[in-house]
Symmetry: C2
Subunit: 151 residues, 2 copies
DNA sequence: TATTGTTATACTCTATAACTATA
DNA sequence: TATAGTTATAGAGTATAACAATA
């Protein structure tokens, strides 16, 4: 009866967070979707898909990026038609970043790819185990040592 | 009975791999360990701790970095005494990168911090659940959609 | 005053190329 | 020839500072 659970999870996490692992995943998910979609611009697409149109400053605060960085990445997405800028009707200073239909499609495709890849790798698991794992992973991410401080 | 397990895991993964999440984790783990230890140099320390002294080209191949990048990061670690360079007795061209005792200590500290943080967040889980989760996470990382191709 | 979007600047990190030394 | 380590260079991405416009 070893008390190694923490170390076991730490090792697995180390592998998961490794740069080469993330690069491989992003490459798979964004393959064939155009040069503008990569590990830098995808968080913009994904963030807007999650919460709807919003300002660069607003989005940056959520995903931990400076608003100048959001502006630059949004430029790339706008150039290829995945994103549009709209004046904010409620705030004359702000500009809303909004996904185009094509932008929403890109997000759908990548999310489906990821979910499909995950389900494929779980194909040999008992369904109960897979569902329990999904619940536990979610709880772990929400409560774990890297969870965002509640503000 | 929904077939949403893949999407549930995908959502949790998205959160986990987010840049701000990783930055927060690295900040916690390396706090007070000196300027040279950060998200760029830690993979070097960790890689050497895992497999022992090895060449820059060798280490780079494993962790997915160019050998010039490994050289530069190793420079920083050598300057603060966490790493030493040694001639490779088996190959006159190579230089082995070896952790110093202080370097090994740093790795131990960060691994203990991470494991402790994880165990703390699992404190309220039934021990059986935690152990099952650790096993499943490991298997998922090894076999999942981002697993390295066997070569 | 404070905050918005944007641009210019300086800084960091990266891979490519080029060099010398050894297999 | 091929591969080792290292350095120089060019390219990409970042945050800071500064700007004009709006709250």
């Amino acid at each position: 009866m070893k008390n190694s659970t923490g170390h076991d999870i730490a090792d697995a996490l180390g592998l998961l967070l490794r740069r080469s692992t993330r690069a491989r995943l992003y490459t798979q998910l964004t393959e064939g979707l155009g040069e503008a979609v990569d590990d830098l611009t995808y968080p913009i697409l994904s963030g807007l898909a999650r919460t709807g149109a919003r300002s660069a400053a607003d989005l940056g605060r959520e995903i931990g990026l400076d608003r100048t960085t959001v502006t630059r990445r949004a430029d790339r997405l706008e150039q290829v038609g995945l994103l549009q800028r709209q004046p904010d009707p409620d705030d004359g200073r702000a500009t809303l970043l909004a996904l185009t239909e094509q932008g929403r499609d890109i997000v759908s495709v990548t999310r489906e790819r990821l979910a499909a890849g995950i389900e494929s790798s779980l194909a040999t698991w008992p369904q109960e185990d897979a569902q329990a794992f999904a619940r536990q992973l979610r709880r772990f991410v929400d409560e774990g040592p890297f969870a965002a401080e509640p503000h």
